[in-house]
C-alpha cells in the first residue's frame, strides 16, 4: 500500500493484508515507540488502539513526540 508518513510518500509492503499502527511502528523502526503519539488522517489515535487500528492505502500518518528533546 502507498501511504504518507511524516510528509513523505512511502510504499509499505509487509506481505500481509492488514497492517496496524503497532506493525507500522515496528516496520519503520520508530525510536522510543512507547513515547510516540500517532496522528492518523488528522486524528490522534489512543495508545490502547495501536494494536487494532489498521493503516489503509492512501492514509496519512504523523509520528509526534511531546516528551523528547525538540521544541
Amino acid at each position: 500500500m502507498k501511504i504518507t508518513i511524516s510528509g513523505k510518500k512511502e510504499v509499505i509492503d509487509t506481505g500481509v493484508e492488514k497492517v496496524t499502527i503497532s506493525n507500522l511502528l515496528t516496520l519503520k523502526n520508530v525510536e522510543m515507540p512507547e513515547m510516540v503519539s500517532v496522528e492518523l488522517n488528522g486524528s490522534i489515535i489512543a495508545r490502547e488502539d495501536f494494536s487494532i487500528r489498521e493503516i489503509n492505502d492512501g492514509d496519512t500518518v504523523e509520528f509526534l513526540y511531546f516528551m523528547g528533546g525538540g521544541s
Binding site: 511524516s6 510528509g7 520508530v30 525510536e31 522510543m32 512507547e34 513515547m35 510516540v36 503519539s37 496522528e39 490522534i44 489512543a46 495508545r47 504523523e62 509520528f63 509526534l64 513526540y65 511531546f66 516528551m67 523528547g68 528533546g69 525538540g70 521544541s71
Partner: protein, 414 residues
C-alpha cells in the same frame, strides 16, 4: 580528508560514536547538546516529528534512562526528571495552574512545599486552600470551579499523617481535578500509587530512591489515570488534542522545564539510577529498623510520645497497613519533655547524624521546630502536628543494635 592540524585533532574524534558497546550500566552523557548529520534531521527533532536529543536542559539520554526506569517502577506512562524534589513540585504546579486558579492541599505539608505554595505561587495569584486530610467532607466542599489540583503527601513530613488515597482519588475524580501525591517517604516500593487512583506522583530522588544522601534530584510521573482532554487546565487540555495522554508531561517538559531550566544533570541521573537498583532491599531494612526503633523508644521512660504508623496504637496504623502492604517507612518522630532536653539529647548522639535530610543509609535526626520549620508560627506548627519538644528521625540501614545503643546512651544523659 587531509590529516587535521594538532588543535583540531585535540577536539574531534568519532571514537565509539555509532558503536554498540553493550555496557551494562547507563553511560553518563555529559554533553550539553547533540549533533545531527543533516539540517533536515535536526529540524524534524525540533518539530517533534522525530525522537532525538537537542540540548540537555530539555532532555538528555542518561536522564531519559532514569525517567524510563522511574515510570516503569510506578507503572506510569512517562516521567520528567528535574533538579530537585521542589523543582518537581514547582514544575507540576506551573504546568497545571495560572493566576486566579486554586490548589487544594493537605494541612501540614513539608515546609519547602508550604512556602512554595504560600509565598511564591500565592504571589502570582495561585491560591492554596489547606484542608485536614482526615475530614474528607471538608476537602470535598473546598473544591470549586477554580480548583485545578489536589496535593497531598503519602506520609506527612513530619506530622506523619497518612491520607486515604483511594477516597481522595474518588473525590478528585468527582470534581475532575487531578490528584497529586508526593510519595517521597513511601517510594514506589511501598505505595502502588497508580492502583490507588493517583494521577501524578512526585518524588524527591534525593531521599529513599537514591538512598545514600549523595545527590539532589526530583521527578514527576504521570500514571496515565487522568484524561487530560477533560482537564480544566487550559494549556494541558489544548495540547492534549495533539499529544493525547502525554499532554501534561509534554507541557511540564516543553513549556515549563525547557524555559525555567530546572534540569537534572546526567551525572546526578546516573547516581539516582544506581540507587534505584537496590531500592527494594533498602526499603525493607528501613522499615524494619523503623519499627524496631519505634518500639524501643515507646518503652523508654524519657520519651513522652512516639509517632510512627507501624505502632499498633497509631491512628494511621490501619490505613498504612492497607496502602503500604503492612510496611510503614523509615521516618518517625519522638517527643522529649522540652526543647532544651531535645537539644541536649541530640548533642549526645554519636552514630546518629544531626542533619536536614531523610532516606539516607545513615540514621539521621533533626529538631524540626528550630530548623526546617523555624519560620513557622505556633498555629502553623500545630497544623503540622509538632511542637518544640518534637524530634524527627530517619532510620537508616545500620545494624539496629548500634542505632538503639546510640539512642540509649544519649537518652541516659538527658
Amino acid at each position: 580528508m587531509n590529516r587535521l592540524e594538532f588543535e583540531t585533532r585535540a577536539i574531534h574524534d568519532d571514537f565509539l560514536q555509532g558503536q554498540s558497546i553493550k555496557a551494562t550500566q547507563v553511560p553518563v552523557y555529559e554533553s550539553a547538546s547533540f549533533s545531527y548529520d543533516d539540517a533536515e534531521s535536526i529540524a524534524d527533532v525540533f518539530s517533534g516529528k522525530r525522537f532525538g536529543y537537542i540540548y540537555s536542559r530539555i532532555s538528555n539520554p542518561t536522564v531519559t534512562a532514569l525517567e524510563r526506569r522511574l515510570s516503569n517502577l510506578e507503572n506510569g506512562i512517562g516521567a520528567v526528571a528535574v533538579s530537585s524534589g521542589m523543582a518537581a513540585i514547582a514544575t507540576a504546579i506551573f504546568a497545571l495552574t495560572k493566576s486566579g486558579d486554586r490548589i487544594i492541599a493537605a494541612k501540614g505539608l513539608f515546609s519547602g512545599t508550604y512556602y512554595l505554595f504560600q509565598e511564591l505561587f500565592q504571589k502570582y495569584g495561585v491560591e492554596t486552600t489547606y484542608v485536614d486530610i482526615d475530614d474528607l467532607d471538608s476537602l470535598r466542599n473546598s473544591i470549586d470551579n477554580r480548583t485545578r489540583l489536589i496535593f497531598v503527601e503519602s506520609i506527612g513530613n513530619p506530622g506523619m499523617k497518612i491520607p486515604d488515597i483511594q477516597a481522595l482519588s474518588h473525590i478528585a475524580r468527582e470534581s475532575n481535578v487531578p490528584l497529586i501525591v508526593d510519595s517521597t517517604l513511601t517510594t514506589p516500593y511501598l505505595l502502588k500509587s497508580k492502583e490507588y487512583g493517583v494521577d501524578i506522583i512526585i518524588h524527591s530522588l534525593t531521599k529513599y530512591l537514591t538512598g545514600n544522601g549523595s545527590t539532589i534530584g526530583g521527578a514527576i510521573i504521570d500514571t496515565g489515570n487522568y484524561d487530560w482532554g477533560q482537564s480544566f487546565s487550559g494549556n494541558v487540555k489544548e495540547i492534549s488534542q495533539k499529544a493525547g495522554q502525554y499532554a501534561f508531561l509534554g507541557v511540564a517538559r516543553k513549556q515549563v522545564l525547557q524555559y525555567t531550566g530546572s534540569c537534572l544533570s546526567p551525572a546526578n541521573a546516573r547516581q539516582h539510577i544506581l540507587g534505584l537498583e537496590t531500592l527494594h532491599l533498602r526499603m525493607e531494612r528501613h522499615c524494619l529498623n523503623g519499627i524496631k526503633l519505634a518500639e524501643y523508644l515507646s518503652h523508654n521512660d524519657k520519651v513522652r510520645n512516639v509517632n510512627y504508623p507501624g505502632l499498633k496504637d497509631n491512628p494511621y496504623h490501619s490505613i498504612a497497613n492497607k496502602q503500604f502492604s503492612n510496611k510503614h517507612g523509615g521516618v518517625l518522630t519522638m517527643s522529649l519533655k522540652s526543647q532544651e532536653k531535645c537539644f541536649k539529647f541530640i548533642s549526645k548522639l554519636s552514630l546518629v547524624k544531626n542533619q536536614a535530610n531523610i532516606g539516607d543509609a545513615r540514621t539521621l535526626i533533626i529538631h524540626p521546630a528550630s530548623t526546617i520549620f523555624h519560620e513557622y508560627s505556633k498555629n502553623e506548627l500545630q497544623d503540622l502536628g509538632i511542637d518544640d519538644s518534637c524530634i524527627r528521625i530517619s532510620a537508616g540501614l545500620e545494624n539496629i543494635k548500634d542505632i538503639i545503643n546510640d539512642f540509649d546512651q544519649a537518652l541516659k544523659e538527658v
